[in-house]
C-alpha cells in the first residue's frame, strides 16, 4: 500500500489505477476510497476538501454574514444605524445569527468584550459609520486586555468616501490606530469575506485584540457578488507553541537554585487556560504567588501559596526571612517600579514584544503559557528527585501556608467586625459571598481588585472573576456583565460597580439587559464619591486639599437612587442603607435572577479618609445668570 500511495502522491498513477491497485491488494472498495480521500490533499492538482471553502453569490452583506457564521459567530452585537440595513436584509434568511442591541457604541463594545472574556471566543459587533468615536474608550480597554473583538461598521459610499462630505472624515482609522490590533477599509465587495476572515484571524491570534473593518454601504448592498467563504475549521490555527527547550532548562535551573523564588501571574495565564499547570509548578517548588492587577484571577486566590498583590510580599518575607532571588513573571506586564537588582528574572509570555521590554532577563520563555508551565515542571522534575525538592522547599511551604492562613483569617474577622450604617463595603462582599453559588461570576469595576479578591474564592472549580480592565477607562462593567451572562447563561452573574463608575454612561446597558431578559444582579457600592480619586488628590496635600475643596470627587448632589434609574428600564431593585438589610435584599435579588430578570441593588456604603466629611463642590447654578424665565 505504501508504494501505491507514494505513486499517487508523485502523480505516477491515476486515481483509478490507485483504487484498482488497492483492490488487488485485498482492500475493500470502501477502504480504498477512504485511504484515497485521506491522502487526496497531497496529490498534485487535487482540491481542498469541499467542506473547507465554498463559493457564495449574494450581496456584500451576504458574504459578511456567512463568513461570520462560519467563523463561529452566535451573536452580533449591534447599535442602530442605517448602514446596518444590508445586514438586516440578510438576517431574514439567516436567523441563526442572533442580534443583541445596545443603545450606545461604547456599551456595545463592553458587551462584546465581556462576552469574549467569558467565552474565550472572538466576539463580533457592528455599528454605524459615525459610531466609531463612541466605541473607542472600550476599544482601548479591549486593546489593553488583548480581548479578541471584530468590530464592523458601514462606511461612506465608495464614490463619496474621502470627500469630507455627509458623515465622513478624511481618515477614520487614524484615530483608533493605538486602540486596535488591526484596521481596514474594504474597497472591493468581492473581498468582504476575505477581510472578514482576516479580521477574525488577527483578532484571535495570540496575543489577541480588537480589530475594526469599515465597509462602504454600497458594497454591502452590492448584488451578485461571488467569493469564497471558508469553513470555520479552516480558520482555526493551533497555537500551542512550546518555548525554546534551552531557555526552559535555564529557567528551571534558576528556580531550583533559588532560595526565595516568587511567581508573578497575569492575564495571559487565564487566556491560555494555564492555571492548572501553573498551580502544579507552584506546588512542586512551593513558590509563593503574587497576582498582577489583572481582569482575571490567574491563580486560585485562596490557595495556601497565594499571597496577594506585590505590596503584600514584604509581610510574607518577614515570615520567611530570605529576600526574593528569583522572580518569574507568567503572562503579565512587568511591574516597572520594582528594583530587580540581584534577582534572576524570568519572563514567560506568548508576546515576544513584551518580553524583556523593561527588565533585563535571566531567561525569556516565548510560547503558549500552558505549554511553558508544563515544560518547566517537566524540566524541574528531570533535574531533581522528589526527595531533593521536598528538602529544599519544605520550610518555605510551611511558612507561606501559615502566613496566608493567618492573613485570610484576619480578613474574615475584619469583615465580621464591620457593621452598621452606612454599610462597610467589606460587609457587603462578605454577605454576597455567603449567598452566591460556588461558581458564580463576579464582574467588577471597583477601584481596586483586592476588594473582590479578599472575599471571593476564584479558580477553575470556584468562582470566576472578570474585570476590572487593565486599561481602567470607566464605563465598561455594566455592559460587560451582560456579555458575560450571554456567554455563561447557566451561571449566576453579579456586577459590582461603584456609583462613580456606573455614572460613566452605563445606564444604557440596563436597556439591553431588560430587553433580552439577561438576569444580572448589578450591585452599586454607592458611597457618593469617587473615593480613590479624592484620596489621590487630597493626600498630596496640595492647595485643594488644604482648602478642603473637593472639586471633582463628590457625587452626593444629586443623590442618585440607582434603583429608580433601573426602574425606568423595567428592572426591579432595592436600596440598602444598613448592614441589617443586606442579607434579605441579596436574597430578593437572587430570587429575581432565578425568575430570569435583572436586578439592581443600590448599597449606601461608607466612605472615609481624606476629604470624606466634605460635601463641598464647585457650586454653580445657571439660575443666577438667567435673565429670562424661558
Amino acid at each position: 500500500m505504501r508504494d501505491l500511495i507514494s505513486d499517487l502522491i508523485e502523480a505516477r498513477i491515476s486515481r483509478r489505477a490507485f483504487l484498482a491497485g488497492m483492490s488487488a491488494a485485498s482492500f475493500t472498495t470502501a477502504a480504498a476510497q477512504s485511504v484515497f480521500e485521506s491522502v487526496a490533499p497531497l496529490v498534485p492538482g487535487s482540491e481542498l476538501p469541499p467542506n473547507l471553502a465554498r463559493r457564495v453569490t449574494g450581496t456584500g452583506a451576504d458574504l459578511l454574514v456567512q463568513q461570520m457564521l462560519e467563523a463561529g459567530a452566535k451573536y452580533l452585537f449591534v447599535c442602530n444605524g442605517s448602514g446596518l440595513g444590508p445586514v438586516c436584509d440578510v438576517l431574514v434568511d439567516r436567523p441563526q445569527l442572533q442580534l443583541v442591541q445596545a443603545t450606545h457604541e461604547g456599551q456595545l463594545v463592553s458587551i462584546a468584550d465581556g462576552y469574549a472574556k467569558a467565552s474565550g471566543k472572538t466576539a463580533f459587533g457592528m455599528f454605524s459609520r459615525v459610531g466609531l468615536p463612541h466605541s473607542s474608550s472600550n476599544m482601548y480597554n479591549a486593546m489593553k486586555d488583548r480581548t479578541p473583538l471584530v468590530l464592523f461598521s458601514d462606511h461612506a459610499d465608495s464614490d463619496r468616501e474621502g470627500t469630507d462630505s455627509h458623515e465622513d472624515i478624511d481618515d477614520w482609522l487614524a484615530a483608533i490606530q493605538p486602540y486596535t490590533k488591526w484596521r481596514w477599509t474594504v474597497h472591493e465587495p468581492e473581498r468582504i469575506a476575505e477581510w472578514t476572515r482576516n479580521a477574525f484571524k488577527v483578532a484571535g491570534a495570540l496575543p489577541g485584540g480588537p480589530v475594526h473593518v469599515r465597509i462602504p454601504r454600497d458594497h454591502l448592498y452590492a448584488g451578485n457578488v461571488t467569493a469564497s467563504v471558508f469553513a470555520g475549521e479552516a480558520l482555526n490555527i493551533p497555537m500551542a507553541l512550546r518555548p525554546d527547550s534551552q531557555e526552559v532548562e535555564r529557567a528551571a535551573k534558576y528556580l531550583l537554585a533559588a532560595q526565595s523564588p516568587l511567581l508573578y501571574v497575569g492575564p495571559e495565564v487565564s487566556q491560555m487556560g494555564a492555571r492548572a499547570a501553573l498551580v502544579e509548578l507552584a506546588e512542586l517548588l512551593a513558590i509563593p504567588v503574587v497576582q498582577h492587577r489583572s481582569f482575571y484571577a490567574d491563580f486560585p486566590n485562596f490557595h495556601p501559596l497565594y499571597i496577594g498583590e506585590l505590596p503584600a510580599v514584604q509581610s510574607y518575607l518577614q515570615q520567611y526571612g530570605t529576600p526574593i532571588d528569583c522572580f518569574v513573571n507568567f503572562g503579565a506586564r512587568f511591574p516597572i517600579e520594582r528594583d530587580f537588582s540581584n534577582v534572576a528574572v524570568v519572563h514567560a509570555s506568548v508576546d515576544p514584544t513584551t518580553i524583556g521590554r523593561n527588565t533585563p532577563l535571566a531567561s525569556a520563555l516565548v510560547g503558549h503559557l500552558n505549554e511553558t508551565a508544563v515544560a518547566l515542571t517537566e524540566a524541574v522534575k528531570s533535574m531533581a528527585t522528589p526527595e531533593q525538592i521536598q528538602a529544599r522547599t519544605a520550610d518555605r511551604r510551611a511558612r507561606c501556608t501559615a502566613h496566608t492562613a493567618q492573613v485570610r483569617a484576619a480578613r474574615e474577622a475584619a469583615a465580621r467586625a464591620s457593621w452598621g450604617e452606612p454599610v462597610p463595603w467589606q460587609r457587603l462582599m462578605y454577605e454576597l459571598n455567603e449567598q452566591l453559588e460556588q461558581d458564580a461570576v463576579i464582574v467588577e469595576e471597583l477601584g481596586t481588585e483586592q476588594k473582590i479578591m479578599s472575599y471571593f474564592s476564584f479558580g477553575d472549580d470556584a468562582k470566576t472573576k472578570i474585570g476590572r480592565t487593565e486599561g481602567r477607562a470607566l464605563g465598561w462593567g455594566v455592559g460587560a456583565s451582560a456579555g458575560v451572562k450571554l456567554a455563561l447563561p447557566d451561571r449566576q452573574v453579579v456586577s459590582l460597580q461603584g456609583d462613580g463608575g456606573f455614572l460613566f454612561g452605563q445606564t444604557d446597558s440596563l436597556w439591553t439587559m431588560s430587553r433580552y431578559d439577561v438576569p444580572v444582579m448589578t450591585v452599586v457600592t454607592n458611597n457618593r464619591s469617587y473615593e480613590e480619586t479624592r484620596w489621590q488628590i487630597f493626600n498630596r496635600n496640595g492647595r485643594a486639599g488644604q482648602a478642603n475643596r473637593d472639586y471633582v470627587s463628590y457625587l452626593g448632589d444629586p443623590d442618585v437612587d440607582f434603583t429608580r434609574l433601573a426602574s425606568a428600564y423595567n428592572i426591579s431593585g432595592a436600596v440598602v442603607s444598613n448592614s441589617d438589610e443586606l442579607a434579605p435584599a441579596i436574597r430578593q435579588g437572587l430570587r429575581t435572577l432565578r425568575e430570569g430578570r435583572p436586578f439592581m441593588l443600590d448599597v449606601r456604603t461608607r466612605t472615609f479618609g481624606a476629604g470624606a466629611e466634605l460635601s463641598w463642590y464647585p457650586d454653580f447654578s445657571l439660575a443666577e445668570q438667567r435673565e429670562r424665565n424661558v
Binding site: G308, A414, A415, M429, Q450, N539, F608
Partner: protein, 86 residues
C-alpha cells in the same frame, strides 16, 4: 507665644517619635508603608471608632495583617493616633 507652642508641641513630639514602641509597632510600620506614606497615619485626626473602621477597611483591601496580630494592631493605632485616645 503660648498658642504657637501649643500648636508646635504635638508636631515636635511626632517628629521625634512618630511611631512609639509597642507590641504592634513593627507590623504597623511594615504593612502600612507598602502602599502609602506613613504620614497618612501621623497626620490623621480620627477617633478610635474611625481608626477601627480604617484598620478593617485596609485589611480588606489587602493589608496583610495576621489574625493573631489584629487586636494588638487595633490597640496600637488607637493608643497612639486616635484623637480621643482609648
Amino acid at each position: 507665644m503660648l498658642a504657637t507652642a501649643a500648636v508646635l508641641y504635638p508636631l515636635l513630639a511626632w517628629s521625634q517619635n512618630p511611631f512609639p514602641d509597642g507590641p504592634a509597632r513593627e507590623t504597623v510600620v511594615l504593612v502600612c508603608s507598602q502602599c502609602h506614606a506613613l504620614t497618612r497615619l501621623t497626620d490623621s485626626s480620627m477617633s478610635a471608632a474611625d481608626w477601627e473602621f480604617v484598620l478593617y477597611d485596609m485589611i480588606a483591601r489587602g493589608a496583610p495583617v495576621h489574625e493573631e496580630q489584629l487586636e494588638r494592631v487595633r490597640q496600637y493605632l488607637i493608643d497612639n493616633f486616635a484623637v480621643d485616645g482609648q
